[in-house]
């Protein structure tokens, strides 16, 4: 958990709840709670559960796939079922894992809204929800990736996955070299959130 830096917490696109729309939302919330639709306790439990999700979940799946090739194959064939082996369950949503290789780089977007596998990656970053990402990554993925510091040679094919229906996606990044013999937890610690979305390719930087 990062220290709470108040100066960056409320940015222009995350105003304090003063706007009409935000107040309508909070007003609705109070009416629903008072009307008995749900309780404040249920709200707190739901928020705690959402806040508990983090990219460490996705990283665990990646580390297992890197060390267990049968698991990796099951993951690629049927990710939704296979992640249950590690205690994760995205039902009723479908879940699909796309593997990076020497010749393929995958990147995920939801151009129509911002669908994201939050159970495995935590809250989506603001840029993933942004209009600029959603508009441009389908049309000029290499330019957008370059903004993230990912430069891809011509021999590497870029595949953009637009989550238009019920599937949620995660990228399986390549295992960096120099990691033989690392434990699963140590391998998981190398995996970044951005590498699971596809805006990072190379994980060598974190290898001790």
């Amino acid at each position: 958990m990062t220290d709470h830096d108040h100066s960056r917490t409320f940015q222009p696109d995350h105003p304090e709840p003063r706007s009409e729309a935000a107040l309508i939302g909070l007003a609705l919330r109070e009416l629903l709670i008072e009307g008995g639709v749900y309780t404040a306790e249920e709200e707190q439990a739901m928020i705690a559960s959402m806040q508990g999700a983090a990219p460490e979940n996705g990283a665990k799946i990646v580390a297992r796939a890197w060390t267990d090739s049968a698991f990796r194959q099951r993951l690629l064939d049927n990710a939704a079922e296979t992640i249950k082996e590690l205690g994760f369950d995205l039902s009723p949503l479908e879940f699909t894992v796309m593997e990076n290789t020497d010749t393929v780089h995958n990147v995920i977007v939801c151009t129509l809204c911002s669908c994201y596998p939050r159970t495995l990656l935590g809250m989506s970053p603001a840029w993933y929800k942004s209009k600029n990402y959603r508009a441009r990554v389908v049309r000029e993925p290499r330019a957008v990736l370059a903004e993230f510091g990912v430069e891809l040679p011509q021999q590497v094919e870029v595949r953009v996955h637009d989550s238009t229906a019920e599937l949620r996606y995660m990228v399986l990044p390549q295992r960096p070299s120099g990691t033989d013999g690392l434990s699963e937890p140590d391998l998981a610690a190398l995996v970044t959130r951005d590498s699971l979305i596809g805006t990072q390719r190379d994980l060598r930087g974190k290898v001790p």
Binding site: T111, E140, P141, R142, V156, V158, V160, D162, L167
Partner: protein, 95 residues
């Protein structure tokens, strides 16, 4: 009917229509041709909220489209692809 109309590798065209209701086909993909990358199974399609639409569950497919077919002047490598999920009733066989 649960038997998929299309098989992996088959060329399909995405319909070019804009119903006045919530649908999940981005404009950039409408009218485009791609190939079936996988058959995803029966899923609840979002247009079931159209009054009178009787078929809530339809076959879903992943369609793979070359980026050079989607964007004029695509600035990338010719082999780059885009993949999206499209429901059965938005697809027709293509040559």
């Amino acid at each position: 009917m649960n038997v998929p109309r299309f098989i992996v590798g088959q060329r399909v065209r995405i319909a070019d229509r804009t119903p006045p209701v919530h649908h999940r086909v981005p404009s950039y993909a409408k009218g485009k041709v791609g190939i079936i990358e996988r058959v995803c199974g029966m899923h609840g399609q979002p247009e079931r909220f159209v009054p009178g639409d009787g078929k809530p569950f339809k076959q879903l497919y992943r369609v793979r489209i070359p980026q050079t077919d989607l964007w004029r002047g695509y600035k990338g490598v010719p082999g780059d692809k885009l993949e999206i999920e499209i429901f059965d009733h938005w697809l027709e066989p293509a040559e």
